[in-house]
């Protein structure tokens, strides 16, 4: 009896979830399929799902006109530096805010919270003027530094680390471990999944960032992928949809792979912090 009810519930649930999934991914399916269509077919009305005449022309054109390895490498360098930096810096700060008592802790936390709430556009111009006065325009440092210590990551890390039981840390202290040792040996291992989460979110933000790299990179050799793609996909008076779609696919793919691989940790990271 119970079994059958579960079975029916499972069928209903799967139906609903699959319908939801269809809605969520339909735009992507259409995007991927359309990236193999010629320019004429992309614009055809009514639109087609399957490419009538599949072609790699969009990708070929994209890779011919774009120094793809260069921009890809730049994007990876920036995203990896930003991600690693944030993981180290923000987890340490998160630990301090969550578990240590020190002068100015509250003030720092309020500043972090406050910064979450300032619209990014407000600081854009002063930030650029600052970076140019530091002589960092068109350098990786200029691309990376302003995003190396993001308030939102400190906030997330603090929330995760708060839920680590104090007893655990206390017993280590009794054993004579210093705070750095505790952070390195106990806190970081327990926050592994949390680090995966913060890492993915940070990588994503950096990977998709457009305006900052556009402004900081003054020569092509420092362009990241989104900046480079914007060069060729959007004309002044006309959009080449086929190219734009192919470009979108190339930019989404690496993120998708990373997320698919790490998704298990990603979800666990948001919840489990030492609650084993």
């Amino acid at each position: 009896m119970k079994r059958r009810r579960d079975r029916n519930a499972a069928i209903v649930l799967h139906t609903v979830l699959i319908a939801g999934l269809a809605i969520m991914i339909a735009p992507f399916v259409w995007m991927v399929l359309s990236s193999f269509k010629g320019e004429g077919e992309v614009r055809r009305t009514p639109p087609t799902w399957l490419p009538a005449d599949p072609t790699l022309a969009n990708y070929r054109e994209l890779f011919e006109r774009l120094d793809f390895p260069l921009y890809f490498t730049n994007s990876v360098i920036v995203a990896v530096l930003v991600t690693v930096g944030n993981l180290l810096i923000c987890s340490a700060t998160g630990y301090a805010l969550a578990k240590l008592r020190f002068l100015g802790r509250r003030a720092l936390f309020v500043l972090v919270l406050g910064n979450l709430m300032v619209p990014p556009m407000a600081t854009f111009v002063p930030q650029f003027v600052l970076v140019s006065n530091l002589g960092l325009v068109n350098t990786f440092a200029g691309l990376v530094l302003p995003n190396l210590a993001l308030a939102v990551n400190v906030f997330l890390m603090r929330q995760f680390i708060l839920s680590i039981p104090d007893d655990l840390l206390e017993s280590a202290r009794v054993d004579g471990a210093g705070e750095w040792r505790i952070y390195w040996r106990i806190v970081l291992p327990l926050t592994g999944p949390a680090l995966a989460t913060v890492g993915i979110l940070t990588f994503l933000g950096s990977w998709n960032n457009f305006l900052w790299p556009l402004v900081v990179a003054t020569t092509e050799d420092k362009y990241t992928l989104p900046v480079a793609l914007a060069l060729y996909s959007v004309g002044q008076n006309q959009t080449q949809y086929g190219l734009l779609l192919a470009g979108s696919v190339t930019i989404i793919l690496p993120i998708l792979v990373i997320f698919a691989v790490l998704q298990r940790h990603f979800v666990r990271g948001i919840a489990t912090t030492g609650l084993k």
Partner: protein, 420 residues
């Protein structure tokens, strides 16, 4: 209130010092000093250039000839996307991190010149009379030139031949009355669902509307003050609105629908620039259309757009940059540039070349260019234009009258100011 004033004043100073780069020469205001000449002889050193879109992509290879003529000079082109180009240039000027020269959208000249970020055009570098007057004006701010037009575009009517033939319209209309008659004939007899497609507001619709204003003797400004509340402007707006009110023009045509509908004849005509030649070709429209000049009222004016070249105050190689600009403005270079990019020459002599005279479609654009205008280069034009676009949308889509729209534009523009 008073307790607030001090800390904020202090903050303002702190910010100001931070912004000014700890005492970088902050007094230079480009509009004060006179144009400086450049050195004689060939260009030398590295010349860094920013350019958007196709121009950015093609200019690097194109500059090889210049480097052949000036063996000591290297031109380094960085292509930048149109998306965000304005913000990139604005912040670069703010941070003193500009290249030597850049392609600049014609409507941005007023703003950037007033930042003091642009160098004045050196005396005797080029001759004003060589350029189309409407294009030249885009680079003139407060009576001084801050660059030169590089390439131009202007707007004409694209007309579906079949529709026109069925409607019995054999010659381009000469007047507003004839235009209205032709467009309604497209719908009544020509089999078109819409006689014409005109921008119903939205970004850049001023470029389609302003020609009618100019045709009617209206102007954006009159002696430094906005003059949108004149009868010339409101009559022109009323004329523009009449196409929508009479059901001759669609109020919300979906994106991407214009070209296919035009090619199959359900839209009889539309106003656009030369790039549509290529787009229509790509959609099977080659040979199916004609282009018409603008009709006349007091004049037969169209809009002139395109791109200007300007050298920055912070340029490291100012002389080299201007020499490159001068080279790009030579008629034969302009013709070659046209062959490389389809960008239309801003220099009149460029149009005498067989490469352009041989194409009747292009010749029509060339003719129209001698009667084409752009708005004056005021620092706030983009903002005024946005207000203008919003009022056009209201005029077309709500029951706002043309007179009220003109009044509203005038009032908003006055609030925004000319940025002087």
């Amino acid at each position: 209130m008073r307790t607030w004033a001090r800390p904020t004043a202090v903050l303002a100073v702190v910010a100001a010092v931070a912004l000014s780069g700890c005492g970088r020469d902050s007094g230079d205001n480009g509009t004060d000093d006179a144009a400086q000449p450049i050195s004689e002889g060939k260009a030398s050193g590295e010349i860094t250039v920013w350019a958007m879109g196709t121009e950015g992509e093609k200019l690097a290879a194109f500059a090889a000839d210049f480097m052949k003529e000036n063996p000591d000079a290297t031109v380094k082109v960085t292509p930048i996307p149109w998306d965000g180009a304005h913000d990139k240039i604005a912040t670069a000027i703010a941070g003193g991190q500009t290249p030597d020269l850049s392609l600049i959208g014609t409507t941005w000249m007023g703003e950037f010149a007033r930042t003091g970020g642009l160098d004045q055009l050196p005396t005797d570098l080029v001759k004003e009379g060589d350029f189309f007057p409407g294009a030249w004006d885009t680079a003139v701010v407060d009576g001084k030139a801050y660059g030169v037009p590089w390439y131009v575009e202007t707007r004409l009517f694209y007309v579906n031949k079949d529709v026109a033939a069925k409607a019995g319209v054999t010659a381009p209309p000469k007047t507003w009355e004839e235009l209205t008659a032709a467009i309604s004939a497209f719908k009544q007899k020509g089999g078109a669902t819409w006689g014409v497609s005109l921008q119903p507001g939205g970004t850049g619709s001023w470029q389609t509307v302003m020609p009618f204003v100019w045709q009617n003797g209206g102007e954006v400004t009159n002696a430094d003050a906005f003059s949108f509340d004149s009868p010339q402007v409101s009559d022109a707006l009323g004329y523009y609105e009449s196409f929508f009110d009479a059901g001759l023009a669609p109020k919300d045509l979906p994106q991407g629908q214009l070209e296919p509908d035009f090619v199959k004849g359900s839209i009889g005509a539309f106003i656009s620039g030369p790039w549509h030649i290529g787009i229509l070709e790509g959609q099977g429209g080659a040979g199916k259309y004609d282009v018409w000049h603008m009709p006349s009222r007091k004049a037969a004016t169209s809009f002139v757009g395109g791109g200007d070249l300007a050298v920055f105050k912070d340029a490291k190689n100012r002389d080299g940059a201007w020499k490159f600009v001068s080279w790009l403005s030579q008629p034969q270079t302009q013709v070659k540039w046209y062959q490389a990019t389809s960008d239309l020459p801003a220099v009149k002599a460029g149009w005498d070349d067989p490469a352009l005279t041989g194409d009747p479609m292009l010749a029509a654009f060339g003719d129209q260019l001698s009667d084409a205008k752009s708005p004056p280069a005021i620092g706030t034009w983009d903002q005024v234009a946005a207000a203008f676009d919003a009022e056009i949308e209201r005029l077309v889509k709500t029951d706002e009258t043309a007179a009220d729209a003109a009044k509203a534009i005038q009032q908003k523009a006055a609030t925004i100011g000319t940025g002087i």
